[in-house]
């Protein structure tokens, strides 16, 4: 365990030392992965589905603010949709417009979640998002995650129904527009996922703020169980075709990732908990103090011994 703590300290020191370089690198990788996934999923515009354009765009993102990645991802999505059909582009544009104008005016920090939610869906562990956002965020994060889920389901829906849409070319534009809106709004799985994730985020947030021992671990387990239960019960009620095996495996992985997040964000020693009571003129205080675990990183001192051959006699060692 001590090795792990030392490793954690090393990681922390490394990040704080090289933050200037790591931040742009992180943005570059995130932008690259996002744009490549968008191109892989809905790469209808062949001009954009080009690695050199993706690389240039990602490099641009690396020195721009984080929200620029979200803006660029939205622009890529709308352009791909435009190549598929005008109606798809219009619907996607309206959705992004509402998200950017109404919600992200308030919480520009949370825009990253909207990006990470579709990514987590693509790699099959979406359940990690409500757990980590409950641990690190606030209940308001439920709205950001909800927006991310809506964007994910819209992209998936359009990608799945692209062949049908291409076959409807003879129909008029309003019919195709109605077809997309009806199919998108009638998606029970989306509503169920939004509800399950929102409940999980709020539950995890409430439990992890309790003054009980191992609150974060309890919050992670309770949140994961609540999430699985809601999705399974919802599946029974609304027939949303949730794959039970994927759900369980995904949740187990998500719990492991949430534990790693906990290790880095909140690690305390409950065995050394102290409870104290004191008072001042106005209040009586009941304080529970739990010490953080800190480990001193063994520092290496390099002793350089130069043997100078020029000196004719005596000890020729000099230390620096």
């Amino acid at each position: 365990m001590t090795t792990l703590f030392v490793a954690k300290q090393y990681v922390k020191n490394f990040i704080s030392k090289y933050e200037v370089y790591l931040k742009p690198l992180f943005k570059l990788i995130l932008a690259l992965v996002t744009l490549m996934i968008i191109n892989g999923k809905i790469g209808y515009m062949h001009r954009l589905d080009n690695i050199s354009i993706v690389l240039i765009a990602s490099l641009m993102c690396s020195f721009m603010p984080m929200n620029f990645i979200v803006f660029l991802a939205a622009a890529f999505t709308v352009l791909h949709m435009y190549a598929l059909s005008l109606e798809c582009a219009a619907i996607t544009l309206v959705l992004f417009l509402i998200l950017f104008l109404l919600y992200f005016r308030f919480s520009p920090k949370d825009t990253l979640v909207v990006l990470l939610t579709p990514l987590s869906f693509m790699i099959g562990i979406p359940y990690v998002i409500p757990l980590t956002m409950g641990l690190l965020g606030t209940p308001a994060s439920a709205i950001s995650v909800g927006c991310g889920i809506i964007v994910t389901y819209l992209i998936n829906y359009i990608a799945d129904s692209a062949p049908t849409l291409s076959g409807m070319e003879t129909e008029d534009i309003a019919t195709r527009f109605r077809f997309i809106i009806d199919g998108f709004l009638d998606n029970r799985a989306m509503v169920l996922t939004i509800a399950a994730f929102a409940v999980t985020i709020i539950l995890v947030y409430l439990i992890r703020r309790l003054a009980v021992d191992y609150a974060w671990t309890i919050a992670i387990i309770a949140g994961a169980l609540a999430d699985v239960m809601i999705l399974l019960v919802g599946d029974l009620m609304f027939d949303t075709n949730v794959s039970i095996l994927n759900l369980i495996i995904g949740t187990v992985f998500s719990v492991l990732i949430a534990k790693i997040v906990e290790f880095f964000a909140f690690h305390v020693d409950y065995s050394r908990t102290e409870k104290v009571q004191f008072e001042d003129d106005e209040y009586y205080y009941y304080v529970k103090a739990v010490p953080k675990i800190t480990v001193a990183v063994p520092s290496r001192t390099v002793k350089k011994i130069n043997t100078s051959r020029k000196r004719p006699s005596g000890s020729s060692q000099s230390q620096r």
Binding site: V94, L97, I98, L101, F106, A174
Partner: protein, 119 residues
């Protein structure tokens, strides 16, 4: 001292920008921006609604009471913008108060630090 420096270069900058305005001016400006954002969003959703029901609307356009329809749309618009305006008022009033509080703490700490140097 480190915390003060980190505040000054990070959140402090935003707080100073916020406190450059008077409270009423800052909140008023933000609410105005919200009203514009809500109007644009409402227009986008309304356009989508009209397009979705294009055939029905075209068929009934001579039968329906356009005045009543317009009235209900305007009422809906006012409700949306009003609700959004109230939410933004609460959020930005809260933000202004928080910025004022943390900047006050920062200046107090700065005074203490200056006192230490004088000694």
């Amino acid at each position: 001292m480190t915390r003060m420096a980190s505040y000054e270069s990070g959140k402090g900058k935003k707080d100073i920008n916020i406190l450059n305005y008077f409270r009423g001016d800052y909140i008023g400006f933000q609410v105005l921006k919200s009203v514009v954002a809500a109007t644009v969003s409402f227009l986008a959703v309304f356009a989508a609604y009209v397009f979705y029901n294009f055939e029905t609307l075209m068929q009934d356009i001579y039968k329906m009471d356009l005045l009543a329809f317009g009235k209900s749309v305007i009422i809906l618009y006012l409700c949306t913008v009003g609700a959004y305006g109230v939410i933004s008022y609460v959020v930005y009033a809260n933000r202004y108060n928080r910025a004022k509080k943390s900047l006050k703490t920062y200046y107090n700490n700065l005074k203490k630090l200056a006192g230490m140097y004088d000694k």
